[in-house]
């Protein structure tokens, strides 16, 4: 069951990722991004990170995608009519990402994951240890993050003013 779900989710992730990148209209891409985020959340569930799966679906599939769609509708970007893909960009893009994929595959095949690969998880009751870690070892980054969110909010309000001065 676990294997089957893993194969299903990873296939869907790759297919939806390709569709997001290849989409003609940004609205289509955004619509394919939503199930992709949900599939990533499914992978998190398979990895027993239940809290992160919930956060992933709430924040990404909920908040981020709503903002994306809202902006796409606001800008009213029309479909690219004259869709001339720059051949230079296509060759360099596909070539370089393929090369990086090759490098990563090589690194993965050479690395010794045998010891870590089979470890049984001692992570029962995921959320409580995560919260404890967040508020003890990582409390300073957590507070900095809250300041970052505040700064981002002020910055967005400033950026969306009509007249910047």
């Amino acid at each position: 069951m676990h294997d089957l779900l893993f194969i299903l989710f990873s296939l869907l992730i790759v297919v939806f990722g390709a569709l997001v990148v290849a989409g003609k209209n940004p609205v289509n891409s955004a619509m394919f991004l939503v199930p992709l985020m949900i599939c990533v959340g499914g992978l998190f569930v398979l990895l027993e990170a239940y809290f992160l799966a919930a956060i992933q679906i709430l924040v990404y599939a909920g908040a981020v995608m709503v903002v994306f769609l809202f902006i796409i509708m606001l800008l009213d970007v029309e479909t690219e009519k004259h869709r001339r893909v720059n051949p230079f960009a296509a060759v360099t893009g596909i070539g370089s990402s393929g090369a990086i994929l090759g490098i990563l595959c090589l690194a993965l095949s050479r690395s010794d994951l045998g010891a870590a690969g089979k470890a049984e998880s001692a992570l029962q009751g995921e959320t409580i240890p995560l919260g404890r870690l967040l508020f003890t070892d990582y409390v300073l980054p957590f507070e900095i993050l809250s300041v970052l969110l505040l700064v981002a909010m002020v910055g967005v309000i400033l950026l969306s003013k009509k007249k910047l001065q």
Partner: protein
């Protein structure tokens, strides 16, 4: 068949390379931005997989931080895109070729 850490890392690598190809090839600013999100998600999958198979929660805390920063980044980035669109009436990267706003 036993799903090990390699399979998760492979999915993460594939997603990362798809996103990177999108960032380089596509010229619509919004789709470039969505490809960036794909790359962030690929990093998240790798971190959660490593955290799970090492029996260690630090990776998951990192993913929590990444998701939060990504949400802030999306808000700021989209506000920038809207500001650019107001000035230049375009969301194509190749038509945004002046340093002046």
């Amino acid at each position: 068949m036993d799903i090990g850490i390699e399979a998760y890392l492979l999915v993460s690598m594939l997603l990362f390379c798809i996103g990177m190809g999108g960032v380089i090839v596509r010229r619509n600013l919004l789709i470039v931005y969505m490809s960036l999100e794909l790359m962030l998600n690929a990093a998240n999958i790798a971190l959660v997989a490593l955290s799970r198979f090492n029996g260690n929660l630090n990776g998951q805390v990192m993913v929590f931080f990444i998701i939060t920063v990504a949400a802030a980044e999306v808000a700021v980035g989209l506000a920038l895109i809207v500001a650019l669109y107001r000035r230049h009436r375009t969301a194509q990267v190749n038509e945004l070729n002046s340093l002046k706003l």
